[in-house]
Symmetry: C2
Subunit: 308 residues, 2 copies
Amino acid sequence: MSKLVIVGTLAFDAIETPFGKTDKILGGAATFIGLSASQFDVDSAVVSIIGGDFPQEYLDLLSSKNINVSGVEIVKEGKTFFWSGKYHNDMNTRDTLVTELNTLADFNPVVPTNYCDAEVVMLGNLHPLVQSSVLNQMTTKPKLVILDTMNFWMNSALTDLHDVIKRIDVITINDEEARQLTGEYSLVVAARKIHKMGPKYVVIKKGEHGALLFHNDNVFYAPALPLEEVFDPTGAGDTFAGGFAGYIAKTGDTSFENMKNAVIYGSTLASFCVEKFGTERMKTLTHDEVHKRLLQFKKLTQFDIKLT
Amino acid sequence: MSKLVIVGTLAFDAIETPFGKTDKILGGAATFIGLSASQFDVDSAVVSIIGGDFPQEYLDLLSSKNINVSGVEIVKEGKTFFWSGKYHNDMNTRDTLVTELNTLADFNPVVPTNYCDAEVVMLGNLHPLVQSSVLNQMTTKPKLVILDTMNFWMNSALTDLHDVIKRIDVITINDEEARQLTGEYSLVVAARKIHKMGPKYVVIKKGEHGALLFHNDNVFYAPALPLEEVFDPTGAGDTFAGGFAGYIAKTGDTSFENMKNAVIYGSTLASFCVEKFGTERMKTLTHDEVHKRLLQFKKLTQFDIKLT
Protein backbone atom coordinates (compact mmCIF):
# COMPACT_ATOMS: atom_id res chain seq x y z
CA MET A 1 0.00 0.00 0.00
CA SER A 2 1.20 3.48 -0.87
CA LYS A 3 1.57 6.46 1.44
CA LEU A 4 -0.61 9.46 0.74
CA VAL A 5 0.29 13.05 1.65
CA ILE A 6 -2.57 15.53 1.77
CA VAL A 7 -1.98 19.25 1.98
CA GLY A 8 -4.97 21.48 2.49
CA THR A 9 -6.97 23.49 4.97
CA LEU A 10 -8.38 22.42 8.29
CA ALA A 11 -11.08 24.96 8.87
CA PHE A 12 -14.21 26.17 10.49
CA ASP A 13 -17.18 26.44 8.13
CA ALA A 14 -20.49 28.20 8.74
CA ILE A 15 -22.99 27.12 6.11
CA GLU A 16 -26.43 28.24 5.11
CA THR A 17 -28.56 26.18 2.72
CA PRO A 18 -32.29 26.17 1.95
CA PHE A 19 -32.51 23.38 4.54
CA GLY A 20 -30.96 25.24 7.46
CA LYS A 21 -27.79 26.79 8.78
CA THR A 22 -24.88 25.81 10.98
CA ASP A 23 -22.64 27.53 13.49
CA LYS A 24 -18.91 27.05 13.01
CA ILE A 25 -18.43 23.39 12.21
CA LEU A 26 -15.47 21.29 11.08
CA GLY A 27 -14.55 21.93 7.46
CA GLY A 28 -11.58 22.43 5.17
CA ALA A 29 -10.24 20.71 2.08
CA ALA A 30 -7.79 18.46 3.93
CA THR A 31 -10.56 17.38 6.30
CA PHE A 32 -12.85 16.21 3.50
CA ILE A 33 -9.99 14.73 1.45
CA GLY A 34 -8.67 12.88 4.49
CA LEU A 35 -12.02 11.49 5.60
CA SER A 36 -12.79 10.34 2.07
CA ALA A 37 -9.38 8.73 1.49
CA SER A 38 -9.64 7.00 4.87
CA GLN A 39 -12.22 4.67 3.33
CA PHE A 40 -9.29 2.90 1.67
CA ASP A 41 -7.28 2.32 4.89
CA VAL A 42 -4.25 3.97 3.34
CA ASP A 43 -1.34 5.38 5.31
CA SER A 44 -2.13 9.08 4.96
CA ALA A 45 -0.84 12.28 6.56
CA VAL A 46 -2.37 15.74 6.57
CA VAL A 47 -0.14 18.79 6.24
CA SER A 48 -1.96 21.89 7.44
CA ILE A 49 -2.08 24.73 9.94
CA ILE A 50 -4.58 25.59 12.67
CA GLY A 51 -5.02 28.04 15.52
CA GLY A 52 -5.32 27.36 19.23
CA ASP A 53 -9.09 27.52 18.80
CA PHE A 54 -9.23 24.28 16.81
CA PRO A 55 -10.81 21.64 19.08
CA GLN A 56 -8.68 18.63 19.98
CA GLU A 57 -11.68 16.44 19.24
CA TYR A 58 -11.44 17.37 15.56
CA LEU A 59 -7.82 16.24 15.46
CA ASP A 60 -8.81 13.12 17.37
CA LEU A 61 -11.47 12.42 14.73
CA LEU A 62 -8.82 12.47 12.00
CA SER A 63 -6.48 10.31 14.07
CA SER A 64 -9.28 7.83 14.69
CA LYS A 65 -9.49 7.40 10.91
CA ASN A 66 -5.76 6.60 10.82
CA ILE A 67 -4.87 9.97 9.39
CA ASN A 68 -1.47 11.11 10.64
CA VAL A 69 -1.69 14.68 11.97
CA SER A 70 1.96 15.22 12.92
CA GLY A 71 2.24 17.60 9.93
CA VAL A 72 -0.45 19.90 11.33
CA GLU A 73 1.16 23.05 12.73
CA ILE A 74 -0.67 24.49 15.72
CA VAL A 75 -0.30 28.24 16.25
CA LYS A 76 -1.52 28.48 19.83
CA GLU A 77 -2.12 32.22 19.81
CA GLY A 78 -3.60 32.16 16.29
CA LYS A 79 -7.04 31.48 14.88
CA THR A 80 -8.06 28.78 12.44
CA PHE A 81 -9.07 29.54 8.86
CA PHE A 82 -12.79 30.37 8.71
CA TRP A 83 -15.14 30.27 5.73
CA SER A 84 -18.83 31.06 5.62
CA GLY A 85 -21.11 30.64 2.64
CA LYS A 86 -24.72 30.60 1.60
CA TYR A 87 -26.11 28.31 -1.11
CA HIS A 88 -28.81 29.38 -3.52
CA ASN A 89 -31.90 27.30 -4.12
CA ASP A 90 -30.38 25.34 -7.00
CA MET A 91 -27.43 24.34 -4.77
CA ASN A 92 -25.09 24.85 -7.72
CA THR A 93 -24.21 28.42 -6.87
CA ARG A 94 -23.19 29.99 -3.61
CA ASP A 95 -22.14 33.29 -2.14
CA THR A 96 -19.10 33.51 0.10
CA LEU A 97 -20.11 35.54 3.15
CA VAL A 98 -16.86 35.48 5.14
CA THR A 99 -13.28 34.41 4.47
CA GLU A 100 -10.86 34.83 7.39
CA LEU A 101 -7.43 33.46 6.46
CA ASN A 102 -6.05 33.81 10.01
CA THR A 103 -3.12 31.38 10.49
CA LEU A 104 -3.42 30.26 6.87
CA ALA A 105 -1.95 33.59 5.78
CA ASP A 106 1.51 32.49 7.01
CA PHE A 107 1.32 28.80 6.20
CA ASN A 108 4.68 27.19 5.46
CA PRO A 109 3.86 23.52 5.03
CA VAL A 110 6.29 20.99 6.49
CA VAL A 111 5.89 17.42 5.29
CA PRO A 112 6.72 14.95 8.10
CA THR A 113 10.05 13.25 7.33
CA ASN A 114 8.58 9.77 7.09
CA TYR A 115 6.08 10.96 4.45
CA CYS A 116 8.60 12.69 2.17
CA ASP A 117 8.77 9.48 0.16
CA ALA A 118 4.98 9.18 -0.26
CA GLU A 119 3.90 7.64 -3.56
CA VAL A 120 0.75 9.76 -3.87
CA VAL A 121 0.50 13.48 -3.15
CA MET A 122 -2.83 15.30 -3.02
CA LEU A 123 -2.42 19.06 -3.24
CA GLY A 124 -5.69 20.49 -1.95
CA ASN A 125 -6.90 23.94 -2.96
CA LEU A 126 -4.36 26.43 -1.55
CA HIS A 127 -2.01 29.12 -2.82
CA PRO A 128 0.00 27.52 -5.64
CA LEU A 129 3.28 28.46 -3.91
CA VAL A 130 2.21 26.39 -0.89
CA GLN A 131 1.40 23.51 -3.22
CA SER A 132 4.83 23.85 -4.89
CA SER A 133 6.55 23.93 -1.52
CA VAL A 134 5.13 20.51 -0.66
CA LEU A 135 6.44 19.06 -3.93
CA ASN A 136 9.86 20.57 -3.21
CA GLN A 137 10.02 18.58 0.04
CA MET A 138 9.45 15.18 -1.54
CA THR A 139 12.69 13.19 -1.46
CA THR A 140 11.57 10.68 -4.09
CA LYS A 141 9.48 11.40 -7.14
CA PRO A 142 5.86 10.55 -6.28
CA LYS A 143 4.06 8.07 -8.48
CA LEU A 144 1.12 10.45 -8.80
CA VAL A 145 0.59 14.10 -7.87
CA ILE A 146 -2.99 15.36 -7.90
CA LEU A 147 -3.82 19.05 -7.67
CA ASP A 148 -7.08 20.80 -6.93
CA THR A 149 -7.40 24.53 -7.43
CA MET A 150 -9.99 27.23 -8.01
CA ASN A 151 -10.70 30.43 -9.92
CA PHE A 152 -9.45 32.57 -7.00
CA TRP A 153 -5.83 31.57 -7.78
CA MET A 154 -6.36 32.13 -11.50
CA ASN A 155 -7.28 35.69 -10.67
CA SER A 156 -4.61 36.36 -8.06
CA ALA A 157 -1.62 34.05 -8.69
CA LEU A 158 -1.82 32.79 -12.27
CA THR A 159 1.94 32.56 -12.89
CA ASP A 160 2.50 30.59 -9.68
CA LEU A 161 -0.44 28.39 -10.60
CA HIS A 162 1.03 27.65 -14.03
CA ASP A 163 4.36 26.82 -12.37
CA VAL A 164 2.85 24.17 -10.10
CA ILE A 165 0.50 22.82 -12.79
CA LYS A 166 3.60 21.98 -14.87
CA ARG A 167 4.76 19.62 -12.11
CA ILE A 168 1.64 17.55 -11.52
CA ASP A 169 0.01 14.48 -13.08
CA VAL A 170 -3.69 15.03 -12.42
CA ILE A 171 -5.62 18.26 -12.08
CA THR A 172 -9.16 18.39 -10.70
CA ILE A 173 -11.02 21.53 -11.62
CA ASN A 174 -14.64 22.47 -12.17
CA ASP A 175 -16.15 23.24 -15.57
CA GLU A 176 -16.25 27.01 -15.16
CA GLU A 177 -12.67 27.04 -13.90
CA ALA A 178 -11.50 24.92 -16.83
CA ARG A 179 -13.13 27.45 -19.14
CA GLN A 180 -11.53 30.36 -17.30
CA LEU A 181 -8.07 28.75 -17.29
CA THR A 182 -8.14 28.07 -21.03
CA GLY A 183 -10.55 30.58 -22.53
CA GLU A 184 -12.33 27.66 -24.24
CA TYR A 185 -16.02 26.89 -23.85
CA SER A 186 -15.85 23.30 -25.08
CA LEU A 187 -14.60 21.10 -22.24
CA VAL A 188 -12.98 18.77 -24.76
CA VAL A 189 -10.89 21.61 -26.15
CA ALA A 190 -10.26 23.01 -22.65
CA ALA A 191 -8.95 19.63 -21.45
CA ARG A 192 -6.60 19.45 -24.43
CA LYS A 193 -5.18 22.88 -23.59
CA ILE A 194 -4.70 21.90 -19.95
CA HIS A 195 -2.85 18.73 -21.05
CA LYS A 196 -0.39 21.04 -22.79
CA MET A 197 0.15 22.94 -19.52
CA GLY A 198 1.52 19.75 -17.94
CA PRO A 199 -1.02 17.35 -16.42
CA LYS A 200 -1.41 14.05 -18.28
CA TYR A 201 -4.82 13.60 -16.70
CA VAL A 202 -7.54 16.25 -16.45
CA VAL A 203 -10.60 15.75 -14.28
CA ILE A 204 -13.39 18.27 -14.89
CA LYS A 205 -15.98 18.32 -12.13
CA LYS A 206 -19.51 19.33 -13.11
CA GLY A 207 -21.27 19.11 -9.73
CA GLU A 208 -24.67 17.45 -10.07
CA HIS A 209 -23.78 16.67 -13.69
CA GLY A 210 -20.87 14.40 -12.79
CA ALA A 211 -17.21 14.46 -13.78
CA LEU A 212 -15.12 13.89 -16.89
CA LEU A 213 -11.67 12.29 -16.93
CA PHE A 214 -9.48 13.15 -19.92
CA HIS A 215 -6.21 11.50 -20.96
CA ASN A 216 -4.98 12.41 -24.42
CA ASP A 217 -7.81 11.36 -26.72
CA ASN A 218 -9.47 9.15 -24.11
CA VAL A 219 -12.38 10.37 -22.08
CA PHE A 220 -14.39 8.77 -19.30
CA TYR A 221 -17.53 10.06 -17.70
CA ALA A 222 -18.78 9.44 -14.16
CA PRO A 223 -22.24 10.75 -13.38
CA ALA A 224 -23.25 12.12 -10.04
CA LEU A 225 -25.79 9.86 -8.39
CA PRO A 226 -29.25 11.38 -8.86
CA LEU A 227 -30.33 12.24 -5.33
CA GLU A 228 -33.71 13.09 -3.88
CA GLU A 229 -32.12 15.90 -1.97
CA VAL A 230 -28.74 17.60 -1.89
CA PHE A 231 -28.55 18.85 1.65
CA ASP A 232 -25.16 20.60 1.67
CA PRO A 233 -22.68 20.52 -1.24
CA THR A 234 -19.79 21.82 0.89
CA GLY A 235 -16.79 19.53 0.59
CA ALA A 236 -18.19 17.44 -2.27
CA GLY A 237 -15.34 18.35 -4.61
CA ASP A 238 -12.72 17.59 -1.95
CA THR A 239 -14.46 14.36 -1.05
CA PHE A 240 -14.36 13.42 -4.74
CA ALA A 241 -10.63 14.20 -4.89
CA GLY A 242 -9.99 12.29 -1.65
CA GLY A 243 -11.76 9.23 -3.00
CA PHE A 244 -9.75 9.45 -6.21
CA ALA A 245 -6.44 9.84 -4.39
CA GLY A 246 -7.24 7.21 -1.77
CA TYR A 247 -8.21 4.62 -4.35
CA ILE A 248 -5.03 5.23 -6.37
CA ALA A 249 -2.92 5.05 -3.19
CA LYS A 250 -4.55 1.79 -2.21
CA THR A 251 -4.25 0.09 -5.61
CA GLY A 252 -0.94 1.64 -6.66
CA ASP A 253 -2.19 1.44 -10.26
CA THR A 254 -2.07 4.68 -12.24
CA SER A 255 -3.33 3.29 -15.54
CA PHE A 256 -6.18 5.09 -17.27
CA GLU A 257 -8.42 2.05 -16.77
CA ASN A 258 -7.83 2.17 -13.03
CA MET A 259 -8.34 5.93 -12.94
CA LYS A 260 -11.84 5.30 -14.28
CA ASN A 261 -12.47 3.32 -11.12
CA ALA A 262 -10.92 6.09 -9.04
CA VAL A 263 -13.33 8.60 -10.58
CA ILE A 264 -16.28 6.32 -9.83
CA TYR A 265 -15.11 5.96 -6.23
CA GLY A 266 -14.76 9.74 -6.01
CA SER A 267 -18.31 10.25 -7.26
CA THR A 268 -19.61 7.56 -4.93
CA LEU A 269 -18.04 9.12 -1.86
CA ALA A 270 -19.14 12.64 -2.87
CA SER A 271 -22.72 11.36 -3.13
CA PHE A 272 -22.62 10.65 0.60
CA CYS A 273 -20.93 13.91 1.56
CA VAL A 274 -23.82 16.05 0.33
CA GLU A 275 -26.44 14.14 2.33
CA LYS A 276 -25.76 16.01 5.58
CA PHE A 277 -24.12 19.20 6.80
CA GLY A 278 -20.33 19.38 6.69
CA THR A 279 -18.51 16.19 7.61
CA GLU A 280 -21.45 14.66 9.47
CA ARG A 281 -22.15 11.94 6.91
CA MET A 282 -18.52 11.12 6.14
CA LYS A 283 -17.70 10.64 9.83
CA THR A 284 -19.98 7.63 10.15
CA LEU A 285 -19.69 6.21 6.63
CA THR A 286 -18.98 2.46 6.51
CA HIS A 287 -17.33 0.24 3.88
CA ASP A 288 -20.61 -1.59 3.54
CA GLU A 289 -22.53 1.57 2.66
CA VAL A 290 -19.89 2.49 0.07
CA HIS A 291 -20.07 -0.99 -1.39
CA LYS A 292 -23.84 -0.81 -1.78
CA ARG A 293 -23.66 2.57 -3.46
CA LEU A 294 -21.00 1.38 -5.89
CA LEU A 295 -23.49 -1.26 -6.98
CA GLN A 296 -25.98 1.57 -7.54
CA PHE A 297 -23.41 3.31 -9.75
CA LYS A 298 -23.01 0.14 -11.75
CA LYS A 299 -26.75 -0.12 -12.29
CA LEU A 300 -26.88 3.57 -13.12
CA THR A 301 -24.27 3.44 -15.86
CA GLN A 302 -23.69 -0.07 -17.18
CA PHE A 303 -25.46 -1.36 -20.27
CA ASP A 304 -25.08 -4.30 -22.56
CA ILE A 305 -25.60 -3.49 -26.20
CA LYS A 306 -24.68 -6.36 -28.48
CA LEU A 307 -22.77 -4.75 -31.31
CA THR A 308 -23.14 -6.75 -34.46
CA MET B 1 -39.96 -6.21 -36.58
CA SER B 2 -42.54 -3.78 -35.21
CA LYS B 3 -44.26 -0.97 -37.03
CA LEU B 4 -43.58 2.54 -35.80
CA VAL B 5 -46.00 5.45 -36.14
CA ILE B 6 -44.51 8.91 -35.77
CA VAL B 7 -46.68 12.00 -35.41
CA GLY B 8 -45.01 15.36 -35.46
CA THR B 9 -44.17 18.40 -37.51
CA LEU B 10 -42.57 18.58 -40.91
CA ALA B 11 -41.27 22.11 -40.98
CA PHE B 12 -39.05 24.81 -42.28
CA ASP B 13 -36.42 25.99 -39.79
CA ALA B 14 -34.24 29.06 -40.00
CA ILE B 15 -31.41 28.81 -37.50
CA GLU B 16 -28.77 31.15 -36.20
CA THR B 17 -25.87 29.89 -34.10
CA PRO B 18 -22.48 31.39 -33.20
CA PHE B 19 -21.16 29.42 -36.21
CA GLY B 20 -23.48 30.86 -38.83
CA LYS B 21 -27.06 31.05 -40.00
CA THR B 22 -29.33 29.25 -42.43
CA ASP B 23 -32.18 30.17 -44.72
CA LYS B 24 -35.30 28.03 -44.45
CA ILE B 25 -34.10 24.45 -44.26
CA LEU B 26 -35.80 21.12 -43.58
CA GLY B 27 -36.78 20.74 -39.94
CA GLY B 28 -39.58 19.51 -37.74
CA ALA B 29 -39.91 16.92 -34.97
CA ALA B 30 -41.19 14.15 -37.27
CA THR B 31 -38.32 14.76 -39.66
CA PHE B 32 -35.65 14.30 -37.01
CA ILE B 33 -37.48 11.42 -35.32
CA GLY B 34 -37.99 9.67 -38.65
CA LEU B 35 -34.41 10.09 -39.85
CA SER B 36 -33.08 8.87 -36.53
CA ALA B 37 -35.41 5.84 -36.33
CA SER B 38 -34.56 4.95 -39.93
CA GLN B 39 -31.15 3.79 -38.68
CA PHE B 40 -32.96 0.69 -37.44
CA ASP B 41 -34.61 -0.21 -40.77
CA VAL B 42 -38.01 -0.30 -39.08
CA ASP B 43 -41.32 -0.03 -40.90
CA SER B 44 -42.22 3.53 -39.96
CA ALA B 45 -44.82 6.04 -41.06
CA VAL B 46 -44.95 9.77 -40.48
CA VAL B 47 -48.31 11.44 -39.75
CA SER B 48 -48.06 15.16 -40.38
CA ILE B 49 -49.29 18.12 -42.40
CA ILE B 50 -47.52 20.41 -44.86
CA GLY B 51 -48.32 23.21 -47.29
CA GLY B 52 -47.87 23.33 -51.04
CA ASP B 53 -44.56 25.06 -50.45
CA PHE B 54 -42.94 21.94 -48.99
CA PRO B 55 -40.45 20.66 -51.58
CA GLN B 56 -41.09 17.21 -53.03
CA GLU B 57 -37.39 16.46 -52.53
CA TYR B 58 -37.87 16.60 -48.75
CA LEU B 59 -40.64 14.00 -48.95
CA ASP B 60 -38.44 11.98 -51.29
CA LEU B 61 -35.65 12.10 -48.73
CA LEU B 62 -37.95 10.57 -46.11
CA SER B 63 -39.19 7.95 -48.58
CA SER B 64 -35.61 7.09 -49.48
CA LYS B 65 -35.08 6.21 -45.83
CA ASN B 66 -38.08 3.83 -45.99
CA ILE B 67 -40.30 6.20 -44.08
CA ASN B 68 -43.91 5.91 -45.26
CA VAL B 69 -45.32 9.38 -45.98
CA SER B 70 -48.87 8.40 -46.97
CA GLY B 71 -50.04 9.93 -43.66
CA VAL B 72 -48.70 13.35 -44.58
CA GLU B 73 -51.57 15.65 -45.51
CA ILE B 74 -50.68 18.20 -48.18
CA VAL B 75 -52.66 21.44 -48.12
CA LYS B 76 -51.81 22.75 -51.60
CA GLU B 77 -52.90 26.33 -50.95
CA GLY B 78 -51.42 26.36 -47.43
CA LYS B 79 -47.99 27.06 -46.04
CA THR B 80 -45.78 24.72 -44.02
CA PHE B 81 -45.08 25.29 -40.32
CA PHE B 82 -42.08 27.61 -39.90
CA TRP B 83 -39.83 28.10 -36.90
CA SER B 84 -36.86 30.39 -36.53
CA GLY B 85 -34.52 30.56 -33.57
CA LYS B 86 -31.22 31.93 -32.43
CA TYR B 87 -28.87 30.10 -30.08
CA HIS B 88 -26.81 31.84 -27.44
CA ASN B 89 -23.10 31.27 -27.07
CA ASP B 90 -23.51 28.43 -24.57
CA MET B 91 -25.80 26.57 -27.04
CA ASN B 92 -28.01 25.54 -24.14
CA THR B 93 -30.41 28.45 -24.44
CA ARG B 94 -32.12 29.91 -27.45
CA ASP B 95 -34.57 32.61 -28.42
CA THR B 96 -37.47 31.81 -30.69
CA LEU B 97 -37.57 34.53 -33.34
CA VAL B 98 -40.54 33.37 -35.42
CA THR B 99 -43.26 30.75 -35.07
CA GLU B 100 -45.73 30.50 -37.97
CA LEU B 101 -48.17 27.66 -37.39
CA ASN B 102 -49.70 27.92 -40.89
CA THR B 103 -51.30 24.57 -41.85
CA LEU B 104 -50.40 23.14 -38.45
CA ALA B 105 -53.15 25.27 -36.89
CA ASP B 106 -55.82 22.97 -38.39
CA PHE B 107 -54.00 19.66 -38.18
CA ASN B 108 -56.29 16.64 -37.82
CA PRO B 109 -53.94 13.69 -37.96
CA VAL B 110 -55.05 10.61 -39.88
CA VAL B 111 -53.09 7.45 -39.25
CA PRO B 112 -52.84 5.32 -42.44
CA THR B 113 -55.05 2.24 -42.07
CA ASN B 114 -52.20 -0.21 -42.34
CA TYR B 115 -50.39 1.51 -39.46
CA CYS B 116 -53.34 1.57 -37.01
CA ASP B 117 -51.97 -1.65 -35.53
CA ALA B 118 -48.44 -0.33 -35.04
CA GLU B 119 -46.68 -1.73 -32.01
CA VAL B 120 -44.77 1.46 -31.24
CA VAL B 121 -46.21 4.99 -31.36
CA MET B 122 -44.02 8.07 -31.08
CA LEU B 123 -46.02 11.20 -30.29
CA GLY B 124 -43.75 14.08 -31.21
CA ASN B 125 -44.14 17.49 -29.64
CA LEU B 126 -47.58 18.82 -30.72
CA HIS B 127 -50.82 19.97 -29.12
CA PRO B 128 -51.81 17.21 -26.67
CA LEU B 129 -55.23 16.90 -28.35
CA VAL B 130 -53.48 16.00 -31.61
CA GLN B 131 -51.40 13.45 -29.73
CA SER B 132 -54.57 11.98 -28.16
CA SER B 133 -56.27 11.82 -31.53
CA VAL B 134 -53.54 9.56 -32.86
CA LEU B 135 -53.95 7.19 -29.92
CA ASN B 136 -57.72 7.13 -30.52
CA GLN B 137 -57.11 5.80 -34.02
CA MET B 138 -55.03 2.82 -32.99
CA THR B 139 -57.08 -0.36 -33.50
CA THR B 140 -54.87 -2.49 -31.29
CA LYS B 141 -53.21 -1.40 -28.09
CA PRO B 142 -49.62 -0.45 -28.93
CA LYS B 143 -46.84 -2.20 -27.09
CA LEU B 144 -45.23 1.14 -26.30
CA VAL B 145 -46.38 4.74 -26.61
CA ILE B 146 -43.71 7.43 -26.25
CA LEU B 147 -44.59 11.08 -25.86
CA ASP B 148 -42.48 14.18 -26.20
CA THR B 149 -43.80 17.56 -25.11
CA MET B 150 -42.63 20.98 -24.02
CA ASN B 151 -43.32 23.83 -21.61
CA PHE B 152 -45.47 25.62 -24.20
CA TRP B 153 -48.26 23.03 -23.71
CA MET B 154 -47.91 23.18 -19.94
CA ASN B 155 -48.66 26.87 -20.15
CA SER B 156 -51.46 26.69 -22.72
CA ALA B 157 -53.12 23.24 -22.57
CA LEU B 158 -52.24 21.65 -19.25
CA THR B 159 -55.50 19.70 -18.80
CA ASP B 160 -55.26 18.21 -22.29
CA LEU B 161 -51.61 17.41 -21.62
CA HIS B 162 -52.48 15.57 -18.41
CA ASP B 163 -55.17 13.64 -20.31
CA VAL B 164 -52.74 12.30 -22.89
CA ILE B 165 -49.94 11.73 -20.38
CA LYS B 166 -52.29 9.29 -18.58
CA ARG B 167 -52.38 7.12 -21.69
CA ILE B 168 -48.70 6.76 -22.50
CA ASP B 169 -45.83 4.52 -21.39
CA VAL B 170 -42.77 6.72 -21.82
CA ILE B 171 -42.46 10.49 -21.58
CA THR B 172 -39.41 12.37 -22.79
CA ILE B 173 -39.07 15.82 -21.33
CA ASN B 174 -36.20 18.15 -20.50
CA ASP B 175 -35.06 18.96 -16.98
CA GLU B 176 -36.63 22.41 -16.79
CA GLU B 177 -39.91 21.06 -18.15
CA ALA B 178 -39.92 18.21 -15.62
CA ARG B 179 -39.47 20.80 -12.90
CA GLN B 180 -42.27 22.96 -14.30
CA LEU B 181 -44.66 20.02 -14.69
CA THR B 182 -44.16 18.86 -11.11
CA GLY B 183 -43.05 21.90 -9.13
CA GLU B 184 -40.10 19.85 -7.84
CA TYR B 185 -36.47 20.84 -8.22
CA SER B 186 -35.01 17.39 -7.58
CA LEU B 187 -35.28 15.34 -10.78
CA VAL B 188 -35.62 12.17 -8.72
CA VAL B 189 -38.68 13.55 -6.97
CA ALA B 190 -39.99 15.06 -10.23
CA ALA B 191 -39.74 11.68 -11.99
CA ARG B 192 -41.64 10.03 -9.17
CA LYS B 193 -44.45 12.57 -9.51
CA ILE B 194 -44.58 12.07 -13.27
CA HIS B 195 -44.82 8.29 -12.75
CA LYS B 196 -47.97 8.98 -10.76
CA MET B 197 -49.42 10.92 -13.71
CA GLY B 198 -49.29 7.75 -15.81
CA PRO B 199 -46.02 6.98 -17.60
CA LYS B 200 -44.17 3.94 -16.27
CA TYR B 201 -40.97 5.29 -17.78
CA VAL B 202 -39.71 8.85 -17.52
CA VAL B 203 -36.80 10.12 -19.61
CA ILE B 204 -35.40 13.46 -18.52
CA LYS B 205 -33.18 15.08 -21.15
CA LYS B 206 -30.42 17.37 -19.89
CA GLY B 207 -28.87 18.48 -23.19
CA GLU B 208 -25.09 18.46 -23.00
CA HIS B 209 -25.40 16.79 -19.58
CA GLY B 210 -27.05 13.65 -20.94
CA ALA B 211 -30.34 11.93 -20.09
CA LEU B 212 -31.85 10.03 -17.18
CA LEU B 213 -34.24 7.09 -17.52
CA PHE B 214 -36.47 6.42 -14.50
CA HIS B 215 -38.66 3.36 -13.87
CA ASN B 216 -40.01 3.07 -10.34
CA ASP B 217 -36.92 3.05 -8.14
CA ASN B 218 -34.58 2.22 -11.01
CA VAL B 219 -32.57 4.88 -12.71
CA PHE B 220 -30.18 4.80 -15.64
CA TYR B 221 -27.97 7.57 -16.91
CA ALA B 222 -26.71 8.13 -20.45
CA PRO B 223 -24.20 10.93 -20.89
CA ALA B 224 -24.01 13.11 -23.93
CA LEU B 225 -20.81 12.47 -25.82
CA PRO B 226 -18.35 15.27 -24.98
CA LEU B 227 -17.88 17.06 -28.29
CA GLU B 228 -15.28 19.52 -29.48
CA GLU B 229 -17.99 21.62 -30.98
CA VAL B 230 -21.79 21.66 -30.89
CA PHE B 231 -22.63 23.22 -34.22
CA ASP B 232 -26.45 23.29 -34.06
CA PRO B 233 -28.53 21.67 -31.30
CA THR B 234 -31.77 21.90 -33.30
CA GLY B 235 -33.45 18.50 -33.46
CA ALA B 236 -31.16 16.83 -30.94
CA GLY B 237 -34.05 16.01 -28.58
CA ASP B 238 -36.16 14.62 -31.42
CA THR B 239 -33.22 12.64 -32.76
CA PHE B 240 -32.77 11.20 -29.27
CA ALA B 241 -36.46 10.23 -29.13
CA GLY B 242 -36.33 8.76 -32.65
CA GLY B 243 -33.34 6.62 -31.75
CA PHE B 244 -35.11 5.44 -28.61
CA ALA B 245 -38.34 4.61 -30.46
CA GLY B 246 -36.57 3.04 -33.44
CA TYR B 247 -34.46 0.77 -31.26
CA ILE B 248 -37.50 -0.39 -29.27
CA ALA B 249 -39.44 -0.99 -32.51
CA LYS B 250 -36.57 -2.99 -33.95
CA THR B 251 -35.98 -5.15 -30.87
CA GLY B 252 -39.60 -5.41 -29.71
CA ASP B 253 -38.25 -5.61 -26.17
CA THR B 254 -39.71 -3.10 -23.70
CA SER B 255 -37.84 -4.31 -20.62
CA PHE B 256 -36.00 -1.73 -18.51
CA GLU B 257 -32.67 -3.35 -19.41
CA ASN B 258 -33.39 -2.91 -23.11
CA MET B 259 -34.59 0.64 -22.58
CA LYS B 260 -31.13 1.41 -21.23
CA ASN B 261 -29.81 0.44 -24.64
CA ALA B 262 -32.50 2.54 -26.30
CA VAL B 263 -31.36 5.57 -24.31
CA ILE B 264 -27.74 4.96 -25.30
CA TYR B 265 -28.78 4.70 -28.96
CA GLY B 266 -30.75 7.92 -28.58
CA SER B 267 -27.73 9.73 -27.13
CA THR B 268 -25.48 8.29 -29.82
CA LEU B 269 -27.70 9.47 -32.66
CA ALA B 270 -28.20 12.89 -31.06
CA SER B 271 -24.42 13.30 -30.87
CA PHE B 272 -24.33 13.21 -34.67
CA CYS B 273 -27.32 15.50 -35.16
CA VAL B 274 -25.59 18.47 -33.50
CA GLU B 275 -22.49 18.26 -35.68
CA LYS B 276 -24.04 20.12 -38.61
CA PHE B 277 -26.96 22.42 -39.37
CA GLY B 278 -30.44 20.89 -39.38
CA THR B 279 -30.72 17.40 -40.86
CA GLU B 280 -27.47 17.64 -42.81
CA ARG B 281 -25.55 15.13 -40.69
CA MET B 282 -28.44 12.70 -40.21
CA LYS B 283 -29.09 12.50 -43.94
CA THR B 284 -25.75 10.89 -44.67
CA LEU B 285 -25.25 8.95 -41.44
CA THR B 286 -24.23 5.31 -41.93
CA HIS B 287 -24.65 2.22 -39.75
CA ASP B 288 -20.89 1.96 -39.59
CA GLU B 289 -20.51 5.46 -38.15
CA VAL B 290 -23.19 4.71 -35.55
CA HIS B 291 -21.46 1.48 -34.64
CA LYS B 292 -18.13 3.23 -34.10
CA ARG B 293 -19.72 5.87 -31.91
CA LEU B 294 -21.48 3.27 -29.80
CA LEU B 295 -18.06 1.86 -29.05
CA GLN B 296 -17.04 5.37 -27.95
CA PHE B 297 -20.03 5.44 -25.61
CA LYS B 298 -18.94 2.13 -24.14
CA LYS B 299 -15.44 3.46 -23.51
CA LEU B 300 -16.91 6.64 -22.10
CA THR B 301 -19.08 4.95 -19.49
CA GLN B 302 -18.04 1.39 -18.78
CA PHE B 303 -15.75 0.53 -15.88
CA ASP B 304 -14.72 -2.60 -14.10
CA ILE B 305 -14.47 -2.25 -10.35
CA LYS B 306 -13.96 -5.55 -8.60
CA LEU B 307 -16.27 -5.39 -5.62
CA THR B 308 -14.99 -7.50 -2.80
